[in-house]
Symmetry: C2
Subunit: 195 residues, 2 copies
DNA sequence: CGCGACGTTGATTTGCCTCAACGATTGTGG
DNA sequence: CCACAATCGTTGAGGCAAATCAACGTCGCG
């Protein structure tokens, strides 16, 4: 059942059998139902969460009361407020299950122990954050330089099928546009294809 | 002269005297003059660049010919296209010196060697990318949720003094707005203070 | 069935862009 | 050392992308 995590680690770093068992014991398995929160604003994010199955959003509510989706998480991704986790300061985010989900969680002291004792873990997390940084950078640059329509189009290409999994207004929020405007973009695109 | 890099590493990870020397030998020192490029579009980013002194921008020119600043780099920061560096694929970015600068560069094979042989290096880079990810995430969220004026205001708070170091139109580009509009924002803010 | 969540559509407004023109400063070659 | 160009910031007019407001249709679910 936790083969997913081990596979994910193996894809990035070398760990042996013994280490694999130590790692697995450090993660706690949990079932989360749709609509449940695993992090709420004001709380310190106490664990990193690896998603075995299901889907989450991490979002925050601004001073105007508008919700903004910071990121989505699906199978074989992590979803956590790393700022809060690392600094042990209160988070501004909410992490909510968008589907019934199966997760593995590790607390900071346990993770720190793994990082100190298992060499492959350090590499694994370095590569995770490298990749996360690189992909976030391309999202940020798109946000700055591309129109809403272009952003939506690359979103569809980058995460095919995802549009059918989460409500459209959350995708709009992730893209930084209003749900109404995303609807209009879709109409234009559909219309254009017909011609 | 390379004390800066060692200090930076020491702040994040433990390395001993021998390791420090091996690391320093892997980095090559260079002087870069204002306006010079250390990366051009189409090139593969062959090295990570640590800035001893001076200032750089990393930017790209979109299909409309507009320049967008992805990031700035100053003393004790790295400036590189990590996507290109890690994947060894052509970069879309230009990295340009905004001042006469002193840098240290490491090539990928040398870095890989260090990561394999010196345990502290892996930790050092993990923490670098963690921090980079966290700070980029907050920039991205601001981009999505805040107005241009708010973004400028937090930029000033986050990087105090930086406004006097680089031309205003580059800050505008970094914030994702036109230089004219930034000028108008500044006027409004100045006017408001007077009242 | 009825309600709430979600998507759509149209009308209006607004934040920001583009275009254009003009000072101020810097720097550079004659 | 000056003249001229280039670079940078400012300002105003007009326009466009996207937000907001409001209303309505549809679907899934309690």
């Amino acid at each position: 059942m936790s083969a997913e995590l081990l596979e994910h680690i193996h894809a990035h770093a070398d760990i042996d059998q013994d280490e694999a068992e130590i790692i697995l014991r450090a993660f706690k398995s949990k079932t989360i139902h749709k609509h449940e929160h695993i992090l709420s604003p004001g709380e310190i994010c106490r664990h990193e969460t690896f998603i075995i199955s299901g889907c989450f959003k991490m979002s925050y509510v601004d001073s105007q009361g508008a919700e903004h989706v910071a990121s989505f998480g699906v199978e074989n991704w992590y979803i956590s407020d790393f700022y809060s986790f690392l600094s042990e300061k209160p988070s501004i985010y909410t992490i909510t299950a968008l589907e019934d989900s199966q997760i593995l969680q590790i607390f900071k002291p346990d993770l720190d122990r793994l990082l100190n004792t298992i060499r492959g873990m350090e590499r694994y997390y370095r590569i995770l954050f490298q990749n996360a940084f690189v992909s976030l950078q391309s999202r940020t640059m798109e946000q700055i330089s591309a129109t809403a329509e272009e952003r939506y189009s690359t979103f569809l290409k980058r995460y095919p099928g995802f549009q059918n999994r989460v409500p459209q207004y959350l995708i709009a929020s992730y893209l930084g546009i209003s749900p109404q405007f995303l609807s209009k973009i879709r109409r234009r695109a559909a219309h254009r294809k017909q011609i």
